[in-house]
Symmetry: C2
Subunit: 477 residues, 2 copies
């Protein structure tokens, strides 16, 4: 028999979030450090979460008429320089291929695919009949991060989807940008049980090459904000740089209007940070590949009956992808720890008593609540408990968010709130200069300018000059 | 109104297969040439086929207990050189990253992932409890091909899946290798309607680093063979090079036994080549994203009634992902050509006559058969026709394969058969020397040594020395 697991989490989430996070990611076998600095391996337990995210989101975008495609990994240097702001924004993070000789063109591994995709769009789009063009790709990208890397949260390679759409009018493009922001919010709130704040990025934080960048931001337990998805209105910046023109119904040539939007494997990091506890991973049931585990409590004399009952329950709970852990080389206690660490939402315990009484013990991962249920009710109860858990995790995270967002009336209040790990709403002049000063003094960055706020006449929290909007600030990942 | 399409296929498949192929791929908007030499863009129509392949195969391997993961895009040079034969095999095709300085390690873009995955396996595998380890990844790979590239068939980047499994015993590994070969054959025959020949690769064609390579081979209309999937028995070659050891139940250390297997987006090229005709793409119904199109035949006075009926039929055929093409800017004839070119299996035509008589005209893509059916029977008939078409395409391809495989008794017969674009079965000594000579003289390569053949006492078709097996030869893509 193997000894009781030494693999458990050995540091409290409240004490040292980053160390706790690293332990959960590696011990729950979600990801691992690759043998190349800054790269990660997404292990099957982590990849299964990504698959749930993909299925959900892919289904949503297909309903909106978006189709998937695949564009080249490599991008010629000459495309990069076409949209000046874009090139400048990504240049420091680009990995280049070695050339055989100086005459060959320099090729970059895509850090994002606007330039190569839009070069191709200029070939595909001819007439208003070709619009809107709604295309998405699921792929890997490489950004040579200098900052400290963290599994899922910041790595030199990550997986993502990038949607790239072209429209005949600015209105349609803008509508798409906001529609997709809404989709990302839904993905986070409905699937991942993580509440988000929707807004627009400041001038400084805008995507390189975009007219406007929209974002959804979530708050992590240490008061740091995490960007969960972005949706960009590109205007005609790229269509002019790449000559993406169409003949309209008016028989004249026009440049298309564009949107693009993306979300990454970073979302998995957010799930771990937001929901996890000191036993390990807690998975919202909707993204748990296997939603229940059945563990036999075995005493030699009743062994066969118990095992048989476990198999029966496994069959009954098949729609939840439940599985009986019948391994003989581990104790029941070891298994409890193992599956708690790995975040299986529900554990069903079956021992001789349960066999005799036609019952089962159901244990809920997040509350640790234990209830004895009649065997005939088990499917219904597991279903109910999974639904309740999904809702409960969201409500808990929402309460945390609400309690940790404050409004600051003065610079002193602002600094104090950031120090106390809050997310702060404050009037902001939206200048690069002010943004940099705030960051220098507090390490906080502007996260977003919330949507649907009426413009007012405020004074910027930092410089005191006129400010027309309020923005959220927090430290970031 | 747009004029009748000039986008149709302008060359006969029988006349110039390659030119026909390029036209079908680009005009049916399956793929496009990327602005980087040797790279391709997989367009939504082509990617939808890949998604069907992924869904089918992913579902199959998950039933076998295989789980998906994701490993880094980049591979350090030091891993490459660990398995000498493997390194030598891939070296010429590797794309390297530019280094900032000579002290930095050289990094390659993965041409395949054995080395990086097995380095990581050596960390993950400790005990017999960790075995078998069954992992697959869906990803992109880059091989800097020197040969002429062709969309889907040979490009410098392609998409694939690579399964990498580790076992405690050679028997289990070998069983997995053959099991996966069987799965690839099923994928081709049941999903893609392409019959294949299963066999083992010759010594010369073996995967670099493998003990044995198994393959499935399909025959294209020009008599060239196409490798559709490979499954490799790696023995302990890599486990010894990467130190993948486990403590067995015997409490001793052992090296694991390994298998790996892969199939690529090249399969899409095979579908096009095998089933397509002079109107364009013909898709086996199982991989057609949209299995039926409804086209209104409009005369002004009955316009509304016809459109309404089309929408009704669209609803009825929803399970086939049918869609009504109600665009007013194109004629019915233009639409017929468009959807034939793009390979929609069934066309439903609705005009005033059909409205009046409560019927519909159903046209089958591959046979061009046209039948008038009662509206109330349309769901059943479409279903039947799709099933029949799937079967018919397979039978047709099977007949072609059977008619184009011959056995050669002499070198003269062999050369003649290859010249006549046949696939040839012949006794073979399985030496590198003979294989190279055959290739020099005929451009044919050994495709595979068919499974389950009894070893005999033959004379090699080329050198006349002793041969114990017969092998298939053909020109290849």
């Amino acid at each position: 028999m193997a000894k009781k697991d030494e693999k458990g989490i050995t540091v409290a989430k409240e004490k040292n979030l980053i160390e706790w996070y690293n332990q959960v990611v590696t011990k729950a076998e979600l990801a691992d450090f690759a043998p190349i600095h800054g790269f990660m391996v997404i292990r099957p337990n982590g990849y299964a979460i990504w698959e749930k995210i993909q299925q959900y989101f892919d289904n949503r975008i297909k309903k909106l008429g978006v189709r998937n495609a695949y564009f080249p990994l490599l991008i010629p240097e000459r495309f990069f320089v076409k949209e000046a702001e874009h090139a400048e924004g990504f240049e420091p993070e680009v990995a280049w291929l070695e050339r055989q000789n100086k005459k060959e063109e320099k090729l970059a591994i895509r850090p994002t695919s606007e330039t190569i995709i839009y070069d191709i769009y200029s070939k595909w789009i001819r007439s208003w009949r070709d619009l809107p063009l709604l295309i998405n790709q699921w792929c890997n990208v490489v950004r040579w991060e200098i900052k400290q890397t963290r599994l899922f949260l910041r790595t030199r390679e990550f997986l993502w989807q990038e949607g790239h759409c072209a429209f005949a009018t600015a209105e349609e493009a803008k509508e798409n940008v906001l529609k997709m922001l809404e989709e990302y919010a839904k993905l986070c709130e409905e699937l991942l049980a993580i509440p988000v704040i929707k807004g627009k990025k400041s001038e400084f934080e805008r995507f390189a090459g975009a007219v406007e960048t929209y974002t959804i931001e979530a708050l992590m337990p240490d008061g740091k904000a995490l960007q969960m998805g972005t949706s960009h209105f590109l205007g005609q910046n790229f269509s002019k740089a790449f000559e993406i023109k169409f003949v309209g119904k008016d028989e004249k040539e026009h440049y298309v209007w564009q949107s693009c939007w993306g979300a990454t494997t970073r979302l998995i990091g957010a799930v771990i940070l937001v929901h996890g506890d000191n036993k390990g991973l807690v998975l919202p049931p909707k993204i748990a590949e296997r939603k229940a585990v059945i563990v036999p409590i075995i005493f030699e004399k009743d062994k066969e009956k118990v095992i048989e009952k476990c198999k029966e329950i496994e069959k009954k709970l098949k729609r939840f992808n439940a599985f009986a852990d019948l391994r003989e080389e581990y104790t029941a206690g070891w298994k409890f720890n193992e599956w708690e660490l790995k975040g299986i939402p529900i554990r069903v315990e079956i021992g001789p008593k349960e066999v005799k009484e036609k019952t089962a013990v159901v244990v809920i991962r997040d509350t640790n609540e234990k209830k004895t249920v009649k065997e005939k009710d088990i499917v219904r109860i597991v279903e109910e408990e999974l639904n309740k858990m999904q809702k409960r995790l969201f409500e808990k995270a929402k309460k945390f968010l609400e309690e940790n967002v404050v409004e600051a009336k003065s610079w002193a209040e602002f600094k104090k709130a950031i120090k106390e790990r809050k997310m702060v709403l404050a009037p902001f002049c939206n200048t690069e200069q002010c943004e940099e000063k705030i960051q220098e003094e507090t390490k906080a960055t502007s996260r977003c300018i919330p949507l649907n706020q009426k413009e007012g006449k405020y004074k910027c929290i930092k410089c005191g000059r006129e400010a027309r909007i309020k923005a959220y600030f927090a430290r970031g990942y």
